[in-house]
Structures are given as structure tokens and as C-alpha cells.
Subunit: 516 residues, 2 copies
């Protein structure tokens, strides 16, 4: 694999002086276009052999490009704040917004390679890590990121020669560590792992370019040209076509009956779903009378309270997702959960329209940034499932966008769970009739009227589309480790007790597993 | 001071049940208006005596209000990431955006009080801390924040009684620590410090409300009413008047001569400044010829390189600010600095228009969030001085806004310096004629033309306003610990060497002081 990077290619000084200035101007111009267009984020990964010129390449690009629209990310040991979150949190939070270039030095490749070279991990673990990388990069690339990965290569002798010459220069001496020599002694092993790494992560949307690292001039020109070509190609490509923005569904004129009848029983694909949806099969008559409710709620809250104190002590985090139709009682259920918790320990995030910083990133970015420290409880009132619910139904996401989201959501949740997070997902459901009754009650009650908007009425027109969307969610994202809990919500008391009990159950089970 | 909070006021259960629901509805409605208007950020500080009901008050507000637009911030020991930045970084990054309520549990009051009670700090330090608090809160309040501070009080016996009863309840037992009892034994001392604290930080824009904490019902109603009244008052107040948005200055039609003559020599205040400005007194003829430049640049870069390695080792951070007219050569100077640094160690931030998340906060917030970890170098290409430069000159900030910014900037920089940051501020200057020549050169040179915009030409019309603004900056913000370095920039070589040398000088001096 690396034979082509040991050919001894060089560019003479005079030649370099002739080529470099116009190339640099081209890059600056492209970077300026990139910044003005604000269309895509550019992610450069610079990895490779020690002494292969990783740092020099980053320095060179920093010098050639406009450093204001460029971020360099190098990673040291994991900080306390990072350790308390899933592994990729540090990379997600460092992603450049669209319009900028982010240069990542080794980054997510560093640990998997070294751990494998020194046998800290076995092959299966390494392969799983490669799989995570592929999914991570694919998510970003599909969202429009331009990803280029440079692998700086040196032959065994060239590396030895390079390390020695670095050591001889007083200015660079400090950069060569015992670790570098240790890595050099593992050269063959390192190259073997690198080959696997490149093979497994070299995808069309995130390709590797193996660069011969021995000659600085050749290296610099090769890296810069590849960046120029990729930027040119992407910036001159037409904007991907998006379907026209959808028209809002008309507000149900009657407001007296159910949603639009013509849609009833028909999912967007035209398949009859009337008798099929999971939501329709729920026993919505379940209810609790007041005395039973009071007793059960207090009991379950006390259980939850004790479990959450133990979880806090153990540094175990929970994430709760609440979804459901408007007026289903999400807020009320969340409040009953919170009553059992120490207020220093939870945070509720109401998910509304994204900010512009969030819009300049992959749609999952805003959820990554909200992840709390270990031992905390993060509650999402609406969540990343918006992508496959409202964005799907209202047409805000393209077909292609929401369809690929299931896999991205699986990957995201898998990382949470691998990190030890207890993840609960509640769909609190009410029937169409019950929703109508609640809307009307709100309309009649002066101090509740402000809670009801035109949009709430409009959403009712999509009732059956939502049912289909929920079926898909359950099919694709209800897994053994991250199951959905369907909550029959026509009776608020029943729903609240079920939510609190489910959380207490899951937390106790997780604690038992941890202690076992 | 606390006599009025030991009167034994209570609200009976029946009375509470009558008062609470409508009060809660009012609060919810106000919170919804607050969120919709997006006008002001609300900051509640909940502090006071242990057992006085701080946690319960936060819980209660979390239960009564809509938790989606509410953030609760409690602070534990300082994390590694926090320790590496100035003390207030953790509070700045936690501020709620406009439209939301942030509840801060003890927060910036906690450490000063306890340190003083246990004699970790002397009175002078305590007073200085109070001064920081006042300035911090005033900055936020003047920017439109609504700040309410609740001090939960208990008498000595009431506190003892409360701690004992908490200990007897199995659910709350764990909350009483030995530390709480230790604090109780220092009751008189604690109250003495609290009195000082309240006296010194009770300002019209950020008032304290001392709340009798013994009866939960009384406490809950009192806290909620105060919040309701304050919200009502602020939300019903008319929007503060802003001057009409300024008209852009006409582009200099000739483009051949200097800026608009009618302004020449006249600052905005009408005082003749022609012969007075500091910038005019610079010796702009200073220059270096090429061989001297090459030699000096390499020498100074080598010095800087060595100093920065030592600084990195010592965990010493630097912040560099670059300001100056368009085309003054800021980018080129920054590049010469960066050449001497390890690319893993610096970050350049180009400061352009704020994002909407930034607009929803105090104007300094965006700079706080960019502060790097210890040992790093953060370079601002344009900076927080935009407030008193472009925003002042173009009329984007009101008179009142930019005038108060000097003090806020002093406070911000003082915190950086107190934290051990080496702060350098460069004004790279060129004359009007030199700028014109550079603009024309850019216009003529195909691959430079994109660097020149209409705005650059327009800014020239404000040349003399900028000179006046710079004089004010030097007068108000060039302090012994954070001096401005004026760089004569008509000769780029001279400017670059001066910048690199100055940075090396300052870094060496700081390291010497550190080692001494």
C-alpha cells in the first residue's frame, strides 16, 4: 500500500518557488469563496507516521491560508470534562461551522492506531472503532461536509533519518520524544495497522491521500494541490437540489371533528395503515383514580429518588427523551419526574428551532453539545427525533435526509449507551379525540389560552402522517438497549405514574448491573 | 439587617392553596411572554444560609415555571477546564440567552463568603471580590439583563432546628453534611460576612431580597411574587429607545485623494484634534531594508519560539489583540508571529459579525467563550475593541453603550491578567495615503482584488472619527499591565519585526517574573 509513497519524489527549491505563490493565491481565493458561500464545512485530517510532517503540514496550511477562517485541533490527553461524556463529544464540539476549514491532527485516528499497535485492544475492538469512524465521517459527509484525509508516510529508514535530524536541530529537538523512538521500533507493526486503517476508512465521501513525507517541498505542494482541487470541485458544483418548501397544511376549518378525513388511514406511501399502526393498538382506556394515583406516584417518586441518589454517587448519567402529540402531557410528566430529583442534577432542554450556529452544523451537533457531565440527568422535551417526525412530516428535511437519520440516530444512541448512559425514550400518546378536547379546554380557559397556537391546530391535519412516522421510529430505533416506552396518555395520572415507574425501573436495573 | 427576616412570618396551608395556583399561572404567562419577546435575559441568584431553603426554592421555581426555558446552574468544585481560565469563565459560559431565565445557586457569591468566613482571604481581598461582582452584574444589567438576588435567611436557632429536622427525614438526611454543621458553628461570623456582602452588592440594577426562610409557604410565595412583579414591570416597560440606524457613509467618489475633507481635523465632539491625535504623532517613516529585516525577523522569531516553549511548559497563556485600519497588515504580522509557534498551541479568531447566539448575550460573551486553555496562545484579528471602534464610529452601538464599554473592557482584561494571561494589544497603523496606495494596488492586481470590498472604501470616509476613537482607547484602556503597542505600519517589514519582538519581550519578562 505504501510503495507509492516511498519513491523518493522531490521538488527542487527553484521549482517550488515557482509553483508555490500562485497555488497559494488560488487557495486563498477558494477559501474566501468558501467563507462567503457558507455552504460547506471542510474537514482535513492530518495523520501518519511520526516525523512524516504532520505538524509541518498543519503549520504550512496555517501560513498559506487565512487563519481567521481556519481552526486547528490537536488533542492531548482526555480532559475531565471530556472523560465524562462519550468519546466523540470532543470531536463533535470542535467541528468547524459551514464556511470554515477545520484541521484535525490525528484526532479520532490516534487512539485506535496506538492501542492496536501496542496490543491494548484486540482486532475486534479495532474493527469496531473503524466502523464508528466510518459512520461518523459518513454522517458529516452526507450532510455536505468536504472531508479530506492526508496520511503522511515515511519508510523505515527515512523515519529514522528524520527523527535523528530533528534531534540534531536545537529548535526541534524537544519535539522528538522517547515515545517516537518506541513507535519507530514498532515500525512494521505500525505500518500493518495503518494499512488496515486506511483500507477500512477510505470511503468515497472521506478519502485518504497517502503523501510521501520525506521531501518538505513535495509534501507541501501535494497537500495544497489536493486541497485546491477538492475545493474547486465542490465549490463549482451546483447546489444540491432541494424540493420546494412545503405549503403549510390548511388549518382544519371545522375544528369540531377529527383531522382531515381524506388522509385517514393512509400513510404517505399510500399503503393502508389504519389497522396497522402501533399507536392504534394501545389500550388508551387505562386510567387511575385519584387516591390510587396519589399513592402510586409518591411510591414511585420515592423509588426514583433513591435510585437517582445512587446513580449520582456512581457517576451514572441518564438521558430522557419525551416525544408525543401536542397537549399529550409531556410537560406534566417531566414535572413529576423532576419532583423526585435533586434540582442540581437535572436539566430540561426544550427543543425548538435551531439557532444559526446550530444550522451551520450537522443536525445532531446541537444534541451533542447539550450532553451533561457524568451523574447528571438530561431531559429533552422533544429531541433529535424531530428529524424523523416534524421535519419528515412537514417536509423540512428531504426524503434522503430523514431516511438516513435512523442510522445516524442509532449510532448516536449507541455511543451514549457504550458510555454507560441510561437512555429512556417516551412516546406519550393521546387519541385525536382527546387532543381535540384538550385544545378546546385550553381555548375556553383564559389562563391556558396562550398555550395554544395556530400551529397546534395545523399539526392535527397531519395526524396520520405522524402515526406512520412513529411506526417507522419504533421499527428502526427501538432497540434492546434503547427501547421506546409507549405511554397511554389519555389519562394523565396513568401516564405520569408510568413514566416515573419506568425511569425508576430502568435506573435500578442499570445500578444492579453496575454493582454486579 | 436580618431582623426583618426573623419575624416568624408564615402562610397557612389553606391560604397557600388559595394563593399559589393563580400566582403560578401568572408566572407561566409572564415566562411565555419573556420567551416570545426574546428581549431580556433573567438572572436569579439564590444564596443564603444553609438550610434556608435555597435548593427548595430552585426546585419550586423549576416546578412552577416551564423548565424548557429555564436553566439551573449549581457549582461544584472547579473543573480542570475551568481552572485553566479566569474565574468568571464558568459563569459567563452559563449565562442564559435573552428570553430565558437562569437560576444560579450561590454561584459567584459562594467562594468569597466561605473564604472570608474561614479566614482564607483577608478583608481587602474580599472587598476586591465584591467589586468584581458589582462590575459583573452591572455589565449584564446595563446590557438589559433583569437580575434578582434572593438571600434566604434563618436565625441561629431556626437553622439548628432546620438542620436537625432535615437529618431526621431519611429522604433528606444525606443533604446535611459535616460542613453544614461547621458553618452553623460559625453562624455569627457568617452573618457578619453576609451583611457586608449584601451591603456592598445591593445595587439598584441587581437588588437583594432577604427572604425569611423558616416557613416554606411564606418563602415560596415571597420568592414567586418578587419574580412576578419584576417580570411584569420589565415586560410592560417600553423598549428602550435606540437611535435610528445610521446611514452608511457615502463612498468617497474620487477615490483619488484622502478621506472626506469636511471631517478632517474634527472629532465627533467638535473639538479640534488635528494636531492632537496620538496616531498622527507616530514616526511613520521608520523602515527596514530587506537584509536587515530577514536577519532581525529570524532572530526575533527564534527568541519568541524559545519563550513560547517555556511558556507552554509553565502553563502560561497569551492573548494577542490586533486592531488597525483596513490593509494595515494585521494578517501578515499575525503570520510572522505564528511562524515562530507550534501550530498545536495557537488559535486565530477572525472577529466578524456576531452569530445570533452571540447577539442574544452581552457583547463580551463571545470573547469569554473563545478563551483557551492554559499554555495556549489566542490571537484575535479584531476584537472586543470593535465596540469602541467600528460600533462607535458607525453608530451600531448607542453613545451610552460604547461609553460604558471602556470600564467593562478594563474589568475583562483585569480578570485575564489576574489569571496570569500575558495580554498584548497591537494597533498597527498606516497613514491615509499608504492605505490608498495599498487599496489601489489590490484593485490592480487580479489575485488580490477579492480582498478589497466596497466597505473598505466606505470606512475611509470615517478616517478621522477612527483617529479620535483610537485616542480614547489609548486614554482609557492602555494600562500598565495591558498596554497598547502602537506599530508604525507603513513599512510592513518594520511592523512585523516590531510585533514579533514585542511579543518575545513581553513573554520573556513574564517568564522571568514567574521564575523569580
Amino acid at each position: 500500500m505504501f510503495e507509492t509513497a516511498e519513491l523518493g519524489r522531490t521538488i527542487a527549491k527553484a521549482e517550488f518557488k515557482r509553483i508555490a505563490p500562485p497555488l497559494r493565491e488560488e487557495l486563498l481565493k477558494l477559501q474566501s469563496d468558501l467563507h462567503d458561500s457558507g455552504r460547506l464545512q471542510v474537514i482535513l485530517v492530518i495523520a501518519g507516521v511520526d516525523g512524516g510532517g504532520k505538524g509541518e503540514t498543519v503549520s504550512q496550511l496555517n501560513e498559506w491560508l487565512d487563519p481567521r477562517w481556519l481552526v486547528t485541533r490537536a488533542y492531548d490527553t482526555v480532559t475531565e470534562e471530556e472523560r465524562q461524556r462519550p468519546e466523540y463529544w470532543r470531536y463533535w464540539r470542535d467541528l468547524p461551522p459551514r464556511g470554515r476549514i477545520g484541521m484535525f491532527l490525528s484526532a479520532w485516528y490516534s487512539r485506535p492506531v496506538l492501542d492496536r499497535v501496542y496490543d491494548v485492544t484486540d482486532e475486534a475492538t479495532f474493527l469496531k472503532q473503524m466502523e464508528h469512524i466510518v459512520r461518523f465521517e459518513r454522517s458529516l459527509a452526507r450532510d455536505g461536509a468536504l472531508i479530506l484525509k492526508y496520511w503522511m508516510h515515511l519508510g523505515n529508514e527515512a523515519q529514522e533519518h528524520r527523527l535523528k535530524s530533528l534531534e540534531q536541530d536545537p529548535l526541534t529537538k524537544a519535539r522528538v520524544t522517547e515515545r517516537d523512538w518506541e513507535n519507530w521500533r514498532h515500525y512494521d507493526r505500525f505500518i500493518g495497522v495503518a494499512e488496515q486503517l486506511i483500507t477500512r476508512t477510505n470511503k468515497g465521501v472521506a478519502p485518504w491521500l497517502v503523501v510521501e513525507g520525506a521531501d518538505p517541498n513535495y509534501r507541501a505542494i501535494t497537500v495544497a494541490r489536493a486541497l485546491r482541487d477538492a475545493l474547486e470541485r465542490r465549490l463549482s458544483a451546483p447546489e444540491p437540489e432541494r424540493p420546494p418548501p412545503p405549503k403549510p397544511a390548511p388549518v382544519d376549518p371545522g375544528r369540531n371533528g377529527k383531522g382531515k378525513k381524506k388522509n385517514a388511514g393512509q400513510g404517505p406511501t399510500g399503503v393502508s395503515t389504519d389497522t396497522l399502526t402501533v399507536l392504534k393498538s394501545l389500550d388508551m382506556a387505562q386510567a387511575l383514580d385519584k387516591p390510587v394515583y396519589r399513592k402510586q406516584l409518591v411510591e414511585q417518586q420515592a423509588r426514583l429518588h433513591r435510585a437517582h441518589l445512587r446513580a449520582k454517587e456512581a457517576g451514572m448519567s441518564s438521558i430522557l427523551v419525551f416525544e408525543g402529540p401536542d397537549a399529550a402531557g409531556k410537560g406534566g410528566a417531566i414535572r413529576r419526574v423532576n419532583q423526585a430529583l435533586d434540582v442540581r442534577n437535572y436539566q430540561v432542554h426544550g427543543i425548538a428551532a435551531p439557532t444559526d450556529e446550530e444550522k451551520a452544523q450537522h443536525y445532531l451537533w446541537r444534541f451533542w453539545r447539550l450532553l451533561s457531565r457524568a451523574g447528571h440527568i438530561t431531559i429533552f422535551d422533544r429531541s433529535w427525533y424531530g428529524r424523523v417526525l416534524v421535519e419528515r412530516v412537514e417536509g423540512f428535511a428531504t426524503d434522503d435526509e430523514w431516511r438516513r437519520s435512523y442510522g445516524e440516530i442509532n449510532e448516536f444512541e449507541e455511543q451514549l449507551i457504550d458510555h454507560g448512559v441510561v437512555l429512556l425514550k417516551f412516546w406519550i400518546h393521546i387519541t385525536e379525540d382527546e387532543q381535540l378536547a384538550r385544545f378546546k379546554f385550553r381555548e375556553k380557559t383564559p389562563h391556558k389560552r396562550w398555550k395554544l397556537t395556530e400551529e397546534d391546530w395545523r399539526n392535527r391535519g397531519h395526524w396520520h402522517d405522524y402515526e406512520t412516522a412513529v411506526d417507522d421510529i419504533l421499527q428502526y430505533t427501538s432497540t434492546a438497549s434503547a427501547p421506546w416506552t409507549l405511554v397511554e396518555g389519555n389519562d394523565k395520572r396513568f401516564a405520569r405514574v408510568k413514566v416515573v415507574r419506568t425511569f425508576a425501573d430502568r435506573l435500578e436495573a442499570a445500578l444492579d448491573r453496575l454493582m454486579a
